[in-house]
């Protein structure tokens, strides 16, 4: 089966800065594929190259079997895009936003009306069709953006940070919509910096940093491979020597990270590690055993320092 998206050596430069530094990836049809990474990692630029709003400087990019540089119009006719910025048309009503999108796809008016009705239901905006955009909440606008992206009946939907800035309930509603889409067999491509979102939605993902892909795989495999099952999170006392503590546990942990006075120890059985720890030699303020998450992988791969 041909891949929905495939990139070989994909590169994008803005003047001196290299935003995307020759990345390779492949997305099988029908899955949800995630791009994770700190701000400035090159996620949005990669998305824009896929949906034709950024030119490609080097490498190859194939979308739905077509060359992204040469067949932009044909690719875009089978694609839906949910941008990071809310760019709904404030001069039109909710329903008119959808109908206008249908015109850009050359869908005939009767069909467009029908689809707009369906999609308003799909995004739980059934009774809001005649309202102005102005009156919608952030979550409603985001769901309308998703519906707008679906007007052209796309095979592939690209979502750039679909839930950034939403409250937990609104986020759940968006996740619900994305789940329903995937069950219909639509391929989803999303960027996010919410690890919970990636773990929950993505079948596969890549973690990007400084324009490169630093790791890729299924979320569960990434967690298992990079940090193990569990994490022992220790808040160290002033007098505790972190290096000697780690050395004393040699062979029983899969890795560690230290940030300020918080020491993370990665292990398959963190409870056992905690029991073996000599508390008299290594005093701690608090100790917490928890399940390892994608967030641990993310921070291990991209570091703990601020990116701005």
């Amino acid at each position: 089966m041909t891949e929905a998206v495939s990139a070989r050596g994909l590169t994008k430069r803005f003047g001196e800065r290299t935003a995307v530094a020759g990345i390779d990836f492949g997305v099988e049809p029908g899955i949800c594929f995630g791009f994770l990474g700190p701000n400035g990692a090159g996620k949005t630029t990669t998305m824009k190259m896929i949906y034709g709003l950024a030119t490609i400087d080097d490498g190859e990019l194939t979308v739905l079997g077509m060359d992204a540089m040469r067949e932009r119009r044909r690719i875009k006719s089978r694609l839906g895009v949910v941008p990071q910025e809310t760019n709904l048309d404030a001069d039109l009503t909710v329903r008119e936003n959808l109908l206008q999108q249908a015109r850009y796809f050359g869908i005939d008016p009767a069909k467009a009306e029908e689809r707009a009705g369906e999609l308003l239901e799909f995004s739980l905006l059934g009774d809001r069709g005649d309202e102005r955009i102005h009156g919608l909440s952030g979550g409603m606008k985001r769901r309308l953006l998703i519906s707008r992206a679906l007007m052209g009946d796309p095979e592939l939907v690209v979502l750039d940070e679909p839930t950034t800035g939403l409250d937990p309930q609104a986020r759940l509603a968006v996740w619900g919509a994305l789940d329903r889409l995937r069950r219909r067999g639509v391929t989803l491509l999303l960027t996010t910096h919410y690890m919970e979102e990636a773990e929950r939605l993505c079948d596969r993902l890549v973690i990007m940093d400084e324009g490169r892909i630093v790791t890729d795989g299924r979320p569960a495999d990434l967690v298992r491979g990079h940090v193990g099952r569990e994490v022992l999170e220790l808040k160290l006392d002033e007098g505790c020597d972190a290096d000697r503590l780690v050395a004393s546990l040699d062979g029983r942990i899969q890795g560690h990270d230290l940030s300020e006075r918080t020491l993370m120890l990665y292990a398959d059985d963190a409870e056992a590690v905690l029991e073996e720890l000599d508390h008299a030699v290594y005093p701690t303020e608090s100790a917490l055993v928890r399940r390892a998450t994608l967030e641990d992988v993310f921070l291990r791969m991209t570091g703990r320092s601020l990116r701005e």
Binding site: Y51, L92, Y104
Partner: protein
């Protein structure tokens, strides 16, 4: 130049092959329809000043100044300027639509990012916006034509043929405004466009006085202004046409519009598809 260093200035952008320059009519129509739909909600408020504008000019110039300048080229002064006001109304409408309105849609509402992620390409978008701007300008021109006809300032039935020529002239004004919008980094620069281009064109395109008494170079400068050509056409039709004058002025407007079309397409592509 300092403005070329502004962060928002993207420049003209690389050459584009001809096939990427030719708009798809159906997609340009989709862009046109969006603008028409929004206008259909606002037109009542938007059109009222258009009635008042020519009225004020006629009052001040026709009935005021006109009492001192009785006739020009053998026709009463009011009748001399009236058809030109059809052309200038279209110019002002085109200028505002392709500057502030387009700027707002592009940079504030950010609608074009969405439009360009659908099958619509830059050339379709520009063509649709220009067609809309010209259509809107023609509505304004026709309103003014109605007003001057009511004042009895139109002496030929040929005036009924004005609208298609006003469309043509408005496309030309619109391409120029659109080019400016796609090239400027900041909204402040519009004051230059209006002060250094639109206003002088309004005053020196033979709308208010003929060139016959003036030095030859004034005529030469005017020849380069699209308003001059549209005023020639509208005045010709209002007072009984001269066939070849209408043809040559129309050709000028069509050729200039076609040549300039490449500028906004290239600049907008550079700006939005970076």
């Amino acid at each position: 130049m300092a403005i070329l260093d502004e962060p928002g200035y993207a420049g003209l952008g690389p050459r584009i092959p001809l096939r990427d320059m030719v708009p798809a009519p159906r997609l340009a129509a989709a862009v046109w329809l969006r603008n028409a739909r929004v206008f259909s909600k606002l037109w009542r408020g938007a059109l009222l000043p258009t009635f008042l504008d020519p009225f004020l000019y006629l009052l001040a110039l026709g009935f005021g100044l006109g009492t001192y300048v009785a006739h020009i080229n053998g026709i009463p002064y009011k009748e001399f300027i009236a058809p030109g006001l059809v052309a200038s109304a279209a110019m002002w409408s085109s200028a505002f639509e392709t500057t502030y309105n387009v700027y707002f849609r592009m940079n504030e509402l950010r609608l074009y990012d969405n439009v360009l992620s659908t099958p619509v390409e830059v050339q379709d978008l520009v063509a649709g916006d220009l067609a809309w701007s010209a259509f809107r300008a023609t509505i304004y021109g026709v309103v003014v034509l109605g007003v001057i006809a009511i004042f009895g300032l139109v002496s030929s039935w040929w005036a009924l043929l004005m609208p298609p020529f006003v469309v043509l002239g408005s496309i030309c004004f619109s391409v120029i405004g659109y080019s400016f919008t796609t090239l400027i980094p900041k909204i402040d620069l519009y004051s230059y466009f209006f002060t250094l281009f639109i206003t002088p064109m309004f005053l020196f395109s033979g709308l208010f006085f003929p060139f016959s008494q003036l030095p030859e170079w004034v005529h030469v400068v005017a020849w380069f202004m699209p308003l001059y050509h549209l005023v020639e056409i509208t005045r010709g039709l209002a007072t009984g046409p001269e066939f070849w004058s209408i043809v040559s002025n129309s050709v000028w407007l069509a050729v200039v519009s076609t040549l300039l079309f490449t500028i906004p397409v290239r600049a907008l592509r550079r700006k939005l598809v970076a």
